[in-house]
């Protein structure tokens, strides 16, 4: 079985973000970028399925600017066999990305597609579900466990209040939640080897899709700051303040 795994280049999760002074967007100049953490989990799961003998090939794909090839190289260093870069400088959101990915699915015919549940920049949580709709495939979102059993896939999902297990026909689309696995770190020899693995570059027009977002970003502002609070000296004082000042007890 071939597994297609989608990755996204985003701001490193440790970086404190700054809003541009003109409020047009978040300032990403000279900011450290990395693979979206949920995408790392997706790559890890695909590689583990290959190590278990369930998958025969892992193909990493991204939709984004030229620099996003760094994240594809990371996926290759982590164990993907080859990569596909759909290169665009447009501001792409979920629907455009899903349309490009759907064309890649059509061409590659994977048995399983794994994506992160959301990217930590736009926090949209949409692309996997949209890809499932566009390809007509079933979806197992927010997965904390996946098991391939013959031509079926069991997915345990993180839902409000607990866990849900569903069974999907293959091929299927899976999006990862935090507890699915703990991603490995790429080793130096693998990083060197990754440089020689094949990477296919296409444009959205090669695929016959438009990827530019139809949602206009009018303004980006920093959130309202909370006023710093007061220090209380004891539990008694805390209870007193909560009762008599905040009136929440």
């Amino acid at each position: 079985m071939k597994i297609l795994v989608a990755v996204k280049r985003v701001i490193d999760y440790n970086v404190k973000i700054r809003v541009k002074p003109d409020h047009s967007d978040v300032d990403l100049t000279n900011v450290k970028m990395a693979m979206n953490p949920f995408c790392e989990i997706a790559v890890e799961e695909a590689v583990r399925l290959k190590e278990k003998g369930v998958a025969t090939e892992v193909v990493a794909v991204t939709v984004g600017p030229k620099a996003a090839q760094e994240q594809l190289r990371t996926a290759l260093a982590l164990g993907a066999d080859r990569a596909i870069h759909v290169e665009t400088d447009e501001r792409v959101e979920s629907l455009g990305a899903a349309k490009a990915l759907a064309k890649v699915v059509e061409a590659e015919q994977p048995g399983l597609v794994i994506l992160g549940k959301q990217a930590i920049d736009t926090d949209n949580n949409q692309t996997g579900q949209m890809l499932a709709a566009l390809t007509g495939l079933p979806q197992g979102t927010f997965a904390s466990e996946v098991a391939v059993e013959g031509d079926k896939l069991q997915v345990t999902r993180e839902i409000d209040g607990g866990l849900q297990t569903i069974e999907l026909t293959l091929p299927a689309i899976v999006t990862t939640d935090l507890r699915l696995n703990e991603p490995r770190y790429a080793k130096l020899p693998d990083i060197m080897k990754a440089k020689k693995k094949p990477m296919d570059v296409k444009s959205p027009s090669d695929l016959g899709v438009e990827v530019a977002s139809k949602v206009k970003l009018l303004k980006v502002e920093p959130p309202a700051e909370r006023q710093g609070g007061i220090k209380v000296g004891s539990v008694d004082e805390l209870v007193d303040k909560l009762k008599n000042e905040a009136k929440v007890l």
């Binding site: 926090d123 079933p138 927010f142 607990g162 935090l178 206009k216």
Partner: protein, 312 residues
């Protein structure tokens, strides 16, 4: 403007989040229908019909919609969406699972987790874990939107004199040979649900281990609070992930939030900083949680918690 709201329900009862989503719909327009999909959900439809501002409830009561699996539920909503300018759902795991699939079936974008309505096509939503707020405008004819329930005050019930909206059955039954429900394992608890609780008390890595979370239980019982946790506590294996408050967990905004042994990573603050009153108990005076807390107690939690419980 005509708006369809997907009702959220659990165990045959209408979930509180629905009233918040209807409130968001009221900020967009005044022609609001609620879709209740599920199996044996007539009681949910009756409750939804009592919500203020709801014109009509559309009831799709069929085994095909049991557990609201994404494939049939999205097909159902896409079938009905032609009658509406907006489709709204709570940004719950159900809404997040189903609505993007609806949007793609209709070839439109989705606006996720709105916290404010500026106009019928313009909305505010948090990005970068709530570290920035984006104002976005949708040019699509159909707007598909998930709503963060804490961003909108719940719409009221009509009251006993107010009557009910009409309930109309939906005949459409979606085919689904692709997905099957196997089982659900839900945490059993007498405490309120995290997202709906008026008081939340959360523990972090400072709790040391999972057993020490019992120190929070006595206080939670006295305050009628839900118990949450930071991602650090979940990652350390102290407690299950469904207790996680933060960017990657649940977003809460209770009247009172008590953070115990939580340093205050950005990812945690993103999930609780809209709480009305925040109390932080931490032995590290420099912990970033103190920058957002209203009341800061620098203390060893193993001494402070039993004392707090005894004094409530």
């Amino acid at each position: 403007m005509s708006i369809l709201v997907l009702a959220e329900h659990h165990d045959g009862a209408l979930a509180g989040a629905t009233a918040h989503v209807v409130a968001a719909a009221q900020a967009i327009g005044d022609d609001i229908d609620v879709l209740v999909a599920g199996e044996n959900v007539a009681a949910v439809a009756e409750a939804a019909a009592k919500l203020d501002g709801v014109a009509k409830v559309r009831l799709a009561d069929h085994a095909a919609y049991a557990h609201l699996l994404a494939e049939p539920t999205a097909a159902l909503i896409a079938e009905l969406a032609g009658d509406y300018s907006h489709v709204l759902a709570a940004a719950s795991t159900t809404g997040k699972n189903v609505l993007p699939r609806v949007a793609a079936l209709k070839d439109v974008s989705q606006i996720s987790e709105i916290i404010a309505v500026e106009s019928p096509d313009t909305f505010k939503r948090p990005i970068y874990a709530g570290n920035a707020i984006a104002t976005v405008q949708s040019e699509d004819a159909l707007k598909v939107i998930t709503v963060r329930p804490t961003g909108f005050d719940a719409c009221p019930d009509r009251g006993s004199e107010g009557g009910s909206a009409s309930v109309e059955a939906v005949e459409f039954v979606a085919d689904n040979a692709q997905s099957t429900f196997i089982k659900e394992e839900l945490a059993q608890s007498d405490r309120p649900e995290l997202g709906a609780a008026k008081v939340v008390i959360s523990g972090g890595r400072g709790m040391g281990n999972g057993e020490n979370f019992t120190l929070l239980e006595g206080i939670a019982d006295k305050l009628g609070a839900a118990i949450g946790a930071s991602r650090a506590a979940v990652d350390a294996g102290f407690v299950p992930n469904d207790m996680q408050v933060g960017q990657t967990g649940k977003i809460v905004a209770p009247e009172l939030y008590i953070a115990v042994g939580i340093s205050g990573a950005i990812q945690h603050l993103a999930g609780m900083k809209d709480s009305k009153v925040i109390v932080a108990i931490n032995k590290d005076e420099e912990a970033p949680i103190f920058q957002v807390a209203d009341y800061c107690l620098v203390a060893d939690l193993f001494e402070a918690l039993p004392e707090l419980e005894s004094k409530l």
